[in-house]
Amino acid sequence: MLRYLKEEADDKYELLFDLSAIDERLRQFRDDQPDCDFTVFYHLISLSSDRDLRLKVALDDGESVDSITSIYPVADWYEREAFDMFGVKFDGHANLRRILSPPLWQGHPLRKEHPARATEMDPYRNSPEFQKAQQDSLRFVPEEWGMSRTAEHTDFMFLNLGPNHPSVHGVFRIALQLDGEVIVQAVPDIGYHHRGQEKMAERQSWHTYIPYTDRIDYLGGVMNNLPYVMNVETMAGIQVPERAEVIRVMLCEMFRVASHLLFYGTFAQDVGQMSPVFYMFADRERLFSIVEAITGGRMHPSWFRIGGVCQDLPEGWDRMVIDFCDYMPKRLDHYENMALKNKILQRRTKGIGAYTAAEGLDWGITGPSLRATGHDWDLRKNRPYSGYDQFDFEIPTAANGDCFDRCVVRVEEIRQSLRIIRQCAENMPAGPYKADHRLTTPPPKERTMQDIETLIHHFLNVSWGPVIPPSESATIVEATKGWTSFYSISDGGTMAYRSRVRTPSFPALQQIPFISNGFMVADLIAIVASIDFVMADVDR
């Protein structure tokens, strides 16, 4: 069925966007869905005909489903994740091990019977035997990673890059099989930054989960709030006022600029250029001072609300924004001379880690990295949300899909984002900054002392949070590093029944072996730098 959809159907579904499972055992509202314990869902997207398809497979506890790794290579890690989190087995998967939790973890965290808080568990004890078992399980055995120790005339060297290494941008580990300095095989290992974002979503009210979203892609700030609040708004049927939409777009683009600036600096730094990162951090600091003036926060303002934003814009905000838009393009020209036009940098990054658009889609690559291969899909243009269709901007693309192009595309995106920010500042509509809807705005405080109904509604809305009607919804946005989506299920409660976060960094890391085998260690560093990921976005 899936093979048909990918290769033969009229609308070819090139991209397996998401794959995970749902524990259905405690769910009450599930009309017209077959009775089952677990649901495995596949979210497919056809870019050629702009269609989405969500396939669901009903499973009883202990049943397994066929692996689809031979059709969509990207399914490998997603299936491992579903196994790790739910215990769902995939027949035919070559390497169905845990991916996010430690190898000796007891239970499957996203099952409903698994405790969500330490207070629900017995006190933690670490017996000497268990400690030894844990240490033994972490011992590096090349064969377990699918590597051989020797080949004809060669003994391979195994190098453990990370989890603490200056160039892996967080706690990310790559086990390398080396022949001299040439990479025979690279196997990424993730999970060191796993915090259980999806489990936490099941224990936080719809409203109090917003700050957690900021920390998913921690360089993206409010950009992560956006898909979450938009998704909840869809489920609750809330119409966001125009001013709130434009404020959201402006702040999101600011964070896109901030994130890309950091990428630009660290990219140059990882190929050995020392200075650019300092200039870019200084510029990012200017941007954060604007964000701080508007929101009061810097990297994680948690400033979007269901139905709008937290507060109205402060006085004098537009002057600051316009000043920045005037200042930044000149700096970008300067950086281009310093970094991108540097011959050594070009030699280090051109032709390194290249893939085609089709290969990128096979591996679930989205966003700027996909556009570097020449594919011009941008959700802001192709499926405008939050009023992006009102703005005048272009979608930069490149042709080769190598490390250098990935950087070029992002630099051009900074310029386009600055255009959008300027348009926001010049055309900010008047009006309310938050929707007047009972699920998002509690009744006015002054009136609570007048009648009991208002008091009750105020009290419930503030103490429990809104009750979102039973429904399912998924929202995708063009985040800083690719497509971020929230897929939430409400079972008519004050908290999500299931909240799936799909992030762009997760599949990007899975692709590393595919684009780096055969290159040198120094090239791997350039490839890792060009991917633009943060581990919080990978492990969630």
Partner: protein
């Protein structure tokens, strides 16, 4: 007399030269961090003492009192020996450096050969450090160092031959005096200067050529396992090497202690001042390169060395020799 050395100044100079080289190396650490900070839009160390100048001292005290750790999995003897070789060989090279007329420990007639021998010896230190640490990053760093040094050693020697042909001597004092008569050798030997400077960068493994360390690839390369004073000695050795390369550049190509021509009214300036100013300029150029240039890939660096710089330095020798023969 012994080993071809001619002792024209007493051994008294040894202590000030060693102390001076180490002291300048320390001050240079601070200066580099400050000037990099200035270029990179930040402050750099500015808290300890006036302008933060005591930062170097504080760092040294910290390094001295750190736990002197020896990796239990490494080779203890060579692990300890390696930093001594790195710093020792570089300090020994100062024996032949004339700071101003007569200010030299041993004015040898084979000074250039001595310098080349000592800088080759330093490679052993790096290599030993990489091997004795028994760490894979160190091993890769050590291997890179060996390959890089062998490559750049070759045409560092060749690039100097042009100067030797011009001056007709291997003695550094002699080379400086030869420049007093005509142009400084940076003009007729411009090609030799560029090649020597690149090789010198590679020898002192400073940023564009810091592949043996390559922080972003090999964490700290050959000295990953080093800490405390042993790390301090390696680092001091690198800065000593940088000062040494600057001194050599000035002596060979920029007229050493020679000042402005007579009649400019600057004859009262002591030669050591001229020497110091020139060395300072070269050192700052070193630092500027570090701030500006990314690191090439290891194999690209090697290819560049063998395919471009080596033929160029050979051409340089041939051309210089031909001109010399034609004019004499």
């Amino acid at each position: 007399m012994m080993f071809g050395f001619e002792l024209n100044m007493s051994y008294v100079l040894i202590v000030p030269v060693v102390a001076g080289a180490m002291g300048f190396a320390l001050a240079l650490v601070w200066w580099e961090r400050r000037i990099l900070g200035f270029w990179q839009d930040r402050l750099g160390p500015n808290r300890v003492g006036p302008f933060g100048i005591l930062q170097a001292l504080a760092d040294m005290i910290k390094l001295m009192f750190k736990d002197d750790w020896l990796p239990p999995f490494g080779d203890r003897f060579f692990f300890v020996l390696a930093p001594i070789v790195v710093a020792g060989s570089m300090l020994l090279a100062y024996v032949v450096v004339p700071f101003s007329p007569g200010w030299v420990i041993a004015d040898s007639n084979i000074a250039i050969l001595w310098f080349l021998a000592m800088s080759s010896l330093a490679v052993y230190g790096v290599l030993l450090a990489g091997l004795a640490s028994n760490n894979k990053y160190s091993l890769l760093g050590g291997l890179r160092a060996a390959a890089q040094m062998v490559t750049y050693e070759v045409f560092m020697g060749l690039s100097l031959l042009g100067v030797v042909i011009h001056a007709g001597t291997f003695s550094l004092s002699g080379i400086v005096e030869a420049q007093a008569e005509g142009l400084w050798f940076c003009i007729p030997q411009a090609l030799g200067l560029v090649i020597f400077f690149i090789a010198g960068l590679a020898e002192s493994h400073r940023l564009p050529f810091d592949l043996p360390e390559a922080e972003h690839e090999l964490t700290a390369g050959f000295h990953t396992e080093y800490s405390g004073m042993k790390f301090g000695v390696i680092m001091a050795g690198e800065y000593v090497a940088m000062i040494l390369t600057s001194c050599l550049t000035v002596l060979l190509f920029f007229g050493g202690w020679l000042g402005t021509p007579e009649g400019w009214g600057l004859d009262w300036v002591h030669p050591i001042v001229w020497f110091g100013v020139k060395v300072a300029v070269v050192i700052n150029f070193f630092i500027l390169l570090r701030a500006a240039i990314p690191r090439p890939r290891y194999d690209q660096l090697m290819a560049r060395g063998w395919k471009i710089l080596l033929p160029l330095s050979l051409v340089n020798i041939l051309a210089t020799g031909a001109i010399r023969l034609a004019t004499v």
